[in-house]
């Protein structure tokens, strides 16, 4: 059963966003980690990098493939989960907590509101299968 926490926002590229004021924490969803398989490396941006909406900010390398990860919201990277490359399996085991990737200071804090809710994301997933 795919885990989809209710307090988060989701993109159709299978990223999740947790909003705290104007800061968005970004990671990939449980569905995405399952589809990718065992994650071995995450290519991260650096603090200070700026991205528009839906720009590739890094990539996730699994034993099966390399997939780009996209910014669901525009902003400047303020923190990167550097430690995750020591334990990349955290992305598989705890995609919504220890497996987070970057924190972004949003250009437009309202942007996350336009993303999918947990219910909408679940509907989106079932419409795709």
């Amino acid at each position: 059963m795919t885990s989809i926490p209710e307090n988060l926002r989701y993109s159709k590229d299978h990223e999740w966003v947790a909003v705290d004021g104007d800061t968005a924490t970004i990671g990939i969803t449980d569905y995405a980690q399952h589809a990718l398989g065992d994650v071995v490396y995450i290519d991260m941006p650096r603090v200070g990098d700026k991205f528009g909406t839906h720009e590739a900010f890094g990539s996730v390398e699994s034993v099966k493939a390399v997939s780009e990860i996209f910014t669901p919201v525009a902003g400047e990277v303020v923190e990167v989960n550097d430690g995750v490359n020591d334990t990349p399996e955290a992305v598989n085991k705890e995609p919504y907590t220890d497996g987070w990737m970057v924190k972004v200071k949003m250009d437009n804090p309202g942007e996350a509101d336009a993303m999918l809710s947990a219910v909408e994301y679940e509907e989106y997933l079932s419409s795709q299968s």
């Binding site: 490396y41 290519d43 650096r46 990539s59 390398e61 493939a65 390399v66 780009e68």
Partner: protein, 444 residues
């Protein structure tokens, strides 16, 4: 083997299908004025023995091949043990291209792994790839890698790096973001002099050691200077035999070591094919270009060789790949591997020592000749620049015609203000008699 295996009848049949009368009509879209309009000027068919005789007579015109030669400058005359040529001609190695189903070719992957291991040991680095096309393209790839690692675009390269390497790297990187700044060498020492161009936009400092003038650079000092501003130090080595004697670039603090492996048992062959080497530190491995072979164990504990970290490569990551190099210089890397393993640690040290000693002898004798001096005073390995009493091109021409000696390379081809300078290389293939005759010809 015939490359056009169809008969005249079959050709007529195909022409009829497309509605043409002759093969010439296929080319009617090519303007008449650029068409040759006659048959190629080639001889009538010859018997095999006649072909061999014709080729032998052409080869005999290459008189430089049989004269004592003191030219190096990036391509070096070294002795290659007969085992190298013998082994690379084994049928198992005939298709030496990196296999597309790599793990089925354990023998190929094993020698690639051994090649990488030897490169790491000699350069003092942690990872090396399965080889590049040649030294100059390896240097260009190092520029690009430094840009990826540092996210900066300025490349500071010494003018004492091989001029043709710098030209290749300029061509190779011209459509990217690299801003290449070439910096001067010290006219007294022959070493890189001007580090003022290093700043916080610099991705890499690029030096060759021994450099184009044969001078050994002070790599530790240069590594400190590069690292102080957050740039990488790229060390280029065109004479791989020098690894047998000099402190490795890795020990001196290099971040990327690139070079040419031709000296390891590979014939000069008019400039190629040769083999590029590329080594770096493990922390940068994901930004490294090229194939990488690793060792792995299956569930029963059996050792096997695999292509590893392929996710950097073009066939997986497409336009995001670290490089469009998706292959390696298989056969030549094999030759280099067999050479290094045949020579062994002691052999590589011994040949390097012979080069250094013979060159030191030549350098000393030439410096004693009236009117001649050594242009730069930094320590050298097997090459050095001689300053003569008149234009180097004249000196070299006279050596060639009067004494039958290829005496070196005139620097005026590449450097302004160095008309009387020429680069002399002495390897283990130059006998003492050859060196003495060079000295007496210069003195005479």
């Amino acid at each position: 083997m015939r490359y056009i295996p169809n008969s005249p009848e079959e050709r007529d049949e195909m022409l009829a299908v497309v509605g043409l009368k002759s093969a010439d009509e296929l080319f009617r879209s090519v303007p008449k004025e650029v068409q040759l309009g006659r048959a190629l000027n080639v001889t009538d068919p010859l018997a095999e023995s006649e072909v061999i005789a014709a080729l032998e007579s052409m080869a005999a015109k290459n008189t430089a091949a049989t004269k004592p030669s003191f030219i190096g400058a990036g391509v070096y005359s070294h002795y290659s043990p007969t085992i190298v040529d013998h082994l690379i001609q084994r049928s198992e190695f005939f298709t030496s291209y990196t296999p597309y189903q790599p793990e089925i070719s354990q023998g190929t992957l094993q020698y690639i792994f051994e090649f990488q291991t030897l490169i790491c040991q000699l350069t003092g680095m942690e990872v090396a790839n399965a080889s590049m096309y040649d030294g100059s393209t390896a240097m260009a790839e190092a520029y690009l890698m430094a840009q990826r690692v540092t996210r900066r675009d300025k490349i500071v390269v010494a003018k004492s790096v091989h001029p043709e390497y710098r030209e290749v790297a300029r061509t190779y990187t011209q459509h990217g973001a690299a801003e290449i700044v070439e910096v001067a060498f010290d006219e007294k020492t022959g070493r890189i002099a001007d580090l003022a161009a290093l700043d916080d936009k610099t991705a890499a400092l690029v030096v060759q050691s021994p450099n184009f003038f044969g001078c050994v650079e002070d790599l530790e000092k240069l590594a400190d200077a590069a690292h102080a501003i957050g740039a990488l130090l790229i060390v280029v080595v065109t004479e791989a035999i020098s690894f047998g004697l000099l402190k490795s670039p890795g020990e001196c603090g290099a971040d990327i070591v690139v070079g040419e492996g031709q000296s390891w048992g590979v014939p000069m062959s008019f400039g190629g094919p040769h083999v590029g080497i590329f080594a770096t530190q493990e922390k940068f491995v994901r930004q490294m270009p090229g194939r990488l072979c690793g060792v792995a164990y299956d569930k029963n504990g059996n050792r096997g060789f695999v292509l590893t970290l392929s996710t950097r490569e073009q066939h997986i990551r497409r336009e995001k790949a670290t490089s469009n190099i998706c292959t390696n210089q298989g056969l030549i890397a094999l030759a280099a591997t067999i050479y290094m393993e045949t020579m062994g640690k002691k052999g590589l040290q011994e040949v390097a020592m012979q080069n250094a000693q013979k060159a030191a002898y030549a350098k000393q004798r030439i410096a004693e000749i009236n009117g001649y001096s050594i242009a730069f005073d930094a320590p050298t390995f097997n090459e050095f620049v001689v300053r003569g009493p008149l234009a180097a091109t004249e000196i070299l021409e006279k050596l060639r015609t009067d004494a039958g000696i290829v005496g070196g390379l005139a620097l005026s081809k590449y450097y302004d203000g160095h008309d009387t300078d020429f680069l002399v290389c002495v390897t283990e293939t130059n006998s003492r008699e050859q060196i003495d005759s060079l000295v007496s010809a210069l003195a005479g």
